[in-house]
């Protein structure tokens, strides 16, 4: 149990034990609703996708329910429905999670189903082909979501050849190139030493014992430690991804940033919140409230195990691209040069600390946060100390962290939109590269 008094109640009664197989079990009882969540998380994610086969791990996760143990795809689908299951399949660059939230009284059946999916997937050639075709087409459909598409392409353009440049969600070409052998090789990630069993909700000792029993015999090869180089920032680049007919441009302005375990993580997180967190940030004020240029603007610090990114995300009509980029860069430059409005640091700290519990209020959200915390190297203890760490940040600390915000002169300016309408505006910020020719194989 991890239990200092300052730990948020959500994590105060988190049970943590390592089973003899090396599998880490994290469990928390909450019996207010007759629902229970069961999930298997992996400490490795899409950085393990083979080069040129982006989306392989997502495809593998999605295939588990297409046949496992004695069950076929339609049988599993019917089982999920009768358990009242919401299925969670999550793949990020550094972790993955397969989970079921089910009616609590069906716990035993759900446990047996999860064990089949994780330990005994069939991966039949027919199902692999079928699911590969479906996911490749699904990825094309996801391209319709301009915001999602822009964020994915921005990451590729930012991280370039670093494995973080691989789109965790996959690309339709990458998935199209996956073969069954690739998936069988990726199955080695499902090793007890690389995995977490997360149980949340309407639990009791009997159910916990059943889970230990079910996964107790799991034996697989031990994975070697994985070390990635730190991603290195580039200078100013301007990249355009053409989206025919778009009336708006999706804009992403960002730069490579620090890892989650960097000592300046919390001060920089607070600085980034002053810049673009919540509805009273510098960016919302300048770009949305004062100028009416966008419906939404925010800045995100995405700190991973070996490095990360800071990115401002917004969108605006084609005619206001230049004005929006200038206004956002202006706020960034102003903050970076030391302009902190009175009370802004305290407000950002309270906002971060106050909102954190809401981000892990549901079982799937808490499970995702726990798996992510393990993968990024902070563990459940690191998650539990989030709120106290935010409170401990001083204004001086934030000032010292301001130079870690991206220098507007060194930003990647990425836009997805109708090329002929927005290219002239973008050219004001530097030599324009086309997305297709700017990315290399990560």
């Amino acid at each position: 149990m991890i239990a200092p008094a300052s730990v948020p109640p959500l994590l105060r009664d988190l049970r943590r034990e390592v089973l003899p197989s090396g599998l880490l079990l994290l469990a928390r009882e909450d019996r207010r609703l007759p629902l229970v969540f069961l999930g298997i998380g992996l400490r490795r994610g899409a950085v393990e996708d083979p080069v040129g086969k982006e989306g392989a791990l997502r495809l593998l996760l999605s295939l588990l329910k297409k046949g496992a143990g004695e069950r076929d795809a339609e049988g599993i689908a019917a089982d999920l429905e009768s358990l009242g299951a919401a299925l969670l399949e999550r793949t990020t660059s550094e972790h993955a999670l397969l989970g079921l939230e089910v009616l609590a009284e069906r716990f035993e059946e759900a446990l047996s189903l999860l064990a089949d999916l994780v330990l005994r997937p069939t991966l039949s050639p027919t199902e692999v082909e079928k699911e590969r075709r479906r996911l490749a087409a699904e990825l094309r459909r996801e391209e319709e979501d301009a915001r999602l598409a822009a964020s994915r392409k921005f990451e590729r353009a930012l991280f370039l050849t670093h494995p973080y440049g691989r789109t965790a969600a996959g690309t339709s070409e990458g998935v199209g190139a996956c073969r069954r052998e690739d998936l069988l090789a990726l199955r080695s990630l499902f090793a007890p030493g690389n995995a977490l069993l997360v149980l949340l909700g309407d639990l009791d000792e009997r159910r916990l014992a059943a889970a230990r029993e079910t996964f107790g015999g799991w034996r697989d090869a031990v994975l070697p430690e994985r070390d990635l180089p730190r991603p290195e920032p580039d200078g100013r680049r301007v990249v355009l991804s053409h989206r025919p007919g778009a009336t708006q441009a999706q804009l992403r302005l960002g730069r490579i940033s620090i890892a989650r375990t960097h000592p300046a993580y919390f001060p920089l997180l607070v600085a980034n919140t002053v810049l673009g967190g919540g509805f009273s940030s510098l960016l919302v004020d300048a770009v949305r409230v004062n100028r009416g240029l966008t419906y939404g603007i925010s800045s995100r610090l995405d700190a991973r195990r070996f490095g990360g990114a800071i990115a401002i995300e917004t969108f605006t009509k084609n005619a206001s691209v230049a004005e929006t980029v200038e206004a956002a860069c202006g706020e960034l430059a102003r903050l970076r040069s030391g302009f902190l409005p009175p009370g802004a640091v305290e407000r950002a700290k309270r906002y971060l600390a106050g909102q954190w519990p809401f981000s892990v209020e549901t079982a799937p959200a808490l499970a995702s946060a726990l798996v992510s915390a393990e993968a990024v190297g902070i563990g459940a203890e690191g998650l539990a100390s989030f709120v106290p760490s935010v409170h401990a940040v001083s204004e001086q600390g934030v000032r010292r962290a301001l130079p870690l915000l991206p220098d507007p002169e060194d930003l990647l300016v990425f836009a997805e939109g109708e090329g002929k309408d927005i290219a002239p505006a973008l050219e004001r910020f530097g030599r324009l590269e086309r997305f297709e020719s700017s990315v290399r194989e990560p």
Binding site: P8, P9, D30, R32, L33, P34, L35, K65, A73, E74, I76, A77, A78, E81, S82, L83, G84, A85, E101, V102, L103, E105, R133, R134, A137, E138, R140, R141, E143, E144, R147, P244, G245, T247, Q248, G278, F279, S280, R288, V289, R291, G292, L293, T294, Y295, F315, T316, G343, R347, A348, R350, Y351, A353, G354, Q355, P357, F358, E361, T362, A363
Partner: protein, 425 residues
Amino acid sequence: MPAPLPATAAFPLERHALGNGLLALFSPDRALPLVSLQVHFRVGSRNERPGITGLSHLLEHLMFNGAAKYGPKEFDRTLEREGGFSNASTSWDTTVYHEEFPPAALATAIDLEADRMRALAVAEASLRSEAAVVREERRVSVEDDPDGDLFERLYALAFDAHPYGWPVVGWMSDLLAIGVEDVRAYLRTFYAPNNALLVVAGDFEPEGAIALVRDAFGDIPPGPPPPPVRTEEPPQKGEKRLALSREAEVPAVAIAFHGARAGDGDDPFLLQAIGRILAGGESGRLVRRLVRREESALSIDFEAPWTVDPGLAVLLAKVRPDVDPSRVERSILEELERLGAEEVPLAEFERAKSALAATSLRGLRTVRGRGEEIGRAEVLLGDARLAFALPARFRALEPAAARALAARTFRASNRTVVTLLPSRP
């Protein structure tokens, strides 16, 4: 036979009526230090008219731009300073404001909501700036979004007379033309305490909270009863169709039928069960047939949102790029016809009921979710307590009633079809 479903964990619910007509609904739960405060106004695009479409939603934006005590930019600043977050949403029938915050911020959140209900400032400059923001919202959610565009067309085509035919976000021309006087008149008519519910869910102490609510809201004068929405949608006389050609990655087909109102007894529940049988998870009939076996569709979704007046039941199929959408449409129509002709086997019906019971339990996991379900049950079903009884309502459904409703609803003359065909320059 599957085992019977468990009873829903009962969260408490208290009801307090203020003299000015404001109804306060409290659901305390001290398990986690989280609170959600919500104000549900009984106003949405249903209450608009041509020329002011989108006004309900535009007003939702203006509610964050300053009132008497808390001026421009102060709303979010004040709340965020206490660790809170706020947002709002507008639908056909309601506008819902919500704040999520740590328990210590309850008095502030109540004060902020009372201030803007009492004395919202509506100025020309802030209206123009906010209307520009909403036009960007419209561009991202309709003009540049194939699904948003498709649904806007579908509703506009399906409804001849009822206000559900225009988009909640409003037509672009109205967003350019709505003036300060339109906003003020709307505000006077609909933003009075007698047209609102206040919901608090989570970690708070009800006696203290009702005292705060009485203090903050008690002297806001009630308004006259809002004018009723008189227009009823006349029965549809024949199939309607539209082929929409626009930028998109994949074709799609949306099929809509005029359905039930939320208050129509079991019908809205039965429609959800029918939707689950057709398109639920990976085992829905259409998912198995079109996504899995025929490999003609990428996804099948069903929705029949609960509404004050009769709304639409919609099936949306995203079609594989190399497939003719009319083939997918034919398969869907066959399955719909089968639902009206043959009773769903009991085991399949029970699975759908389990899934719906679990889904409605999931709606209660968060303080915000509980608040929203309480408000929705009160506004749409007429009784807030039903928020916690939905699993039991789903559990009680019978396949024979689902068959009868399917036969009544899925008629050709009650059908509107919009097909999206991607155009590539």
